[in-house]
Amino acid sequence: MTYTEILEILCGTMTVSGWERNAHETVRQHFASRFDEITSDGARNLILLRRCQKENAPRILLDAHMDEIGMMVREVLEDGFLTVANVGGLDRQILPCAECRIYGEKKTVSGVLAVRGISPDSEGSKVPEWKDLVIDTGYTKEELTTLGIGPGSPVSYRHQWTQLLNNRITGQGFDDKCCAAGLLWAVIHTPREELAGDVYVVLSAAEEIHGQLTNCAALAIQPDFAIVTDVNFASTPGMASDESAPLGEGPMTSLSAATDRRLTDRIIAAAKKAEIPLHPVVESTNTGTNAGSLIYANTGVPTAVVSIPLAGMHSYNECLSIDDGEAFARLIRLCITSPDIGTDSVPVWEKGGLA
């Protein structure tokens, strides 16, 4: 399976925060044969384990969040319009006329977002309040109820997977499925005997609304070290060059006080040796990823962050370079096959310790 094929499989399933279990069946269906164990936990994380079958092997946790931003239906109005609330960080000023999909229990339908009582103007529209944003569905209230659409139904943008020049693609939900696809690719393309440890891929839940749920998985896994993977900013017009990386020139890693610097440095050195391009970016105190909480899990988890640059993050179209996704996947494979990447992370008492 190619990186792109895996990404397409993951993006074909709606996983607005809270609905991550939608993807669990899809992942099991396509990848069950490649892992030794797959389990989901009470926090809606999906954990996939591939063992290296070596004695006292380190446990490596690889995290990518499975959820995506979206909306939730609040109320079905008399004439078939829906009021909505945000799930995660949507920019409401760009929502008028945005196309969306509403996931009913019986059917998924298309809709168009609109502002109550106001026609979008060719210039100078005001930023709408959430209470004024409605979805135009074309259905009657009764029909919507019959389709199982009502308060709590999830809503996502309408996907438009489009190929641009230079192996770039646009679509939606790439945050963070492009990393999840890279993790799955790396593990299924590594022969068991080459693994440097037991690899636990955590497809985590609810990163877009509060994060921290990878910690629940970490309690069960007790990892020796972790790599949190998420998207980061691509260099687009207006973006500072020292907080972003150009599309198509390789993945990124975070230099941060909130991550483990030694682990990060070893990943950078390994990438350099293997000639995989890797852009370090300074995120001094906050990487904006699950790493922020994961380092506090258990007795502390040495954690590094590796990212794929993404343009249009949280926008109607997100854009990434397939080349970056593939380089990211090769880098992850390098990390899980290099025995020296996760060294000196286990606390050892020197004079007998507590006991």
């Binding site: 109005l77 004439d79 078939g80 319009f81 960080g89 949507l90 920019d91 000023q93 760009i94 008028p96 006329c97 945005a98 196309e99 339908v109 298309s110 809709g111 168009v112 609109a114 502002v115 109550r116 009582g117 106001i118 026609s119 979008p120 103007d121 060719s122 210039e123 100078g124 529209s125 930023v127 409605v134 135009d136 569905t137 074309g138 259905y139 009657t140 029909e143 438009q160 489009t162 190929q163 641009l164 020049l165 230079n166 192996n167 770039r168 646009t170 900013f233 687009t236 017009p237 207006g238 973006m239 198509g248 343009a311 249009g312 993050m313 949280h314 926008s315 109607y316 179209n317 854009c319």
Partner: protein, 349 residues
């Protein structure tokens, strides 16, 4: 249904103001078999002639006077932007053509190019995490995936155009809506095209010589309708135009209640006898219609009125939601009823 396929095809064509050749070409191919003559005037309006019997009928609103020619007009252009520049990193930057509001463009799927070739992209902006303010047009850029200026300019150059890229889709079930780009604009074209096809297929000859005019550049002000009218010299004109209706509007007109017959607009009081004749025709045939006494914001009527020796004008407006945005929505019934009303008007005027 043929009329839905026609609207879908017209909706999908690339045709912002000043770049309407693609849509003109499609209309020419579609309607040539049905028309008696076709021409393109000096401003590019496409005009089809369907000959009448030359006898005006009794009880028609213009009866008793010597009138010879009816002009039906709709505009071909759609909401769009122009490419102002292409930067060194390969990003084309937009400037206002008919869409100038950054929030309607941000993140949207777009097609950029010119009459000959187009390329897919999306409208990029600073992500919401970093922007901290309104999406202004001058901070937007188009991403087509190009790696530098040289590569980008193989596909798109300053002065080229851009439009939204939106699938045509039917929404809903029992009272279906139609969703797509440019529906406010292309529905008028589709209505006129369908009326001409139905007249020709039925072999029906109206009293008037009837000219079906498809004009350009309406969305940046007045279309080329005055030049078309100077060529056609109509006695009576009926303009097809969209009425932009907000979601959950409690205004006097709405979607789903049929075509709108306005009494006034910018710079014009529409011809009362013809407008009232159209309303009566709707009532007589059971076609729902709405009258409106508030201007909808179109300038073509006022311009046509003053052309040549003067033209008696009426307007048939099609209610459409979100005309200016990436996805407009209209009720299928409104579209079909507008076709029926205009067809009946041509047959009975």
């Amino acid at each position: 249904m043929r009329e839905l396929t026609l609207l879908k095809k017209l909706s999908m064509v690339f045709g912002p103001s000043g770049c309407e050749d693609g849509i003109a070409q499609l209309l020419r191919e579609t309607l040539l078999p049905y028309a008696d003559a076709v021409t393109e005037d000096r401003l590019g309006s496409l005009i089809f002639l369907y000959k009448g019997t030359g006898q005006s009928r009794k009880n028609a609103p213009v009866n008793g006077r010597v009138y010879e020619r009816l002009m039906l007009a709709a505009h071909m252009d759609e909401p769009g932007f122009m490419i102002q520049s292409v930067d060194d990193k390969g990003y084309p930057h937009p400037t206002k053509l008919s869409v100038g509001d950054g929030s309607l463009l941000t993140g949207r799927s777009v097609t950029v190019g010119n009459g000959e070739k187009q390329v897919s992209g999306y409208m990029g902006a600073m992500p919401a995490h970093k922007s901290g303010g309104a999406a202004k047009l001058d901070s937007l850029y188009v991403d087509i995936g190009a790696k530098d200026r040289e590569e980008a300019e193989k596909y798109v150059c300053p002065g080229d155009f851009g439009v939204f890229r939106t699938d045509f889709e039917i929404l809903g079930s029992s009272e279906p809506s139609l969703k797509g780009k440019a529906l406010g604009d292309r529905a008028g074209c589709a209505v006129l095209a369908e009326v001409l096809i139905r007249l020709a297929e039925a072999g029906f000859r109206p009293a008037f010589d009837t000219c079906f005019c498809f004009t350009r550049r309406k969305k940046i002000g007045t279309s080329g309708i005055t030049a078309a009218a100077a060529l056609v010299e109509p006695d009576v004109g009926i303009l097809l135009a969209p009425a932009d209706i907000p979601a959950l509007s409690d205004g006097p007109v709405s979607t789903g209640k049929g075509p709108i017959l306005p009494f006034i607009d910018k710079e014009i009081v529409y011809d009362q006898p013809i407008t009232r004749f159209l309303l009566a025709l709707g009532e007589q045939l059971g076609i729902p219609c709405q009258s409106a006494a508030a201007p909808l914001g179109h300038r073509d009527g006022g311009a046509l009125l003053r052309t040549g020796k003067g033209v008696r004008c009426a307007s048939v407006s099609i209610p459409v939601r979100y005309c200016q945005g990436s996805a407009s929505v209209m009720k299928q019934a409104d579209y079909l009823h507008t076709i029926e009303l205009v067809l009946a008007a041509v047959r009975q005027l």
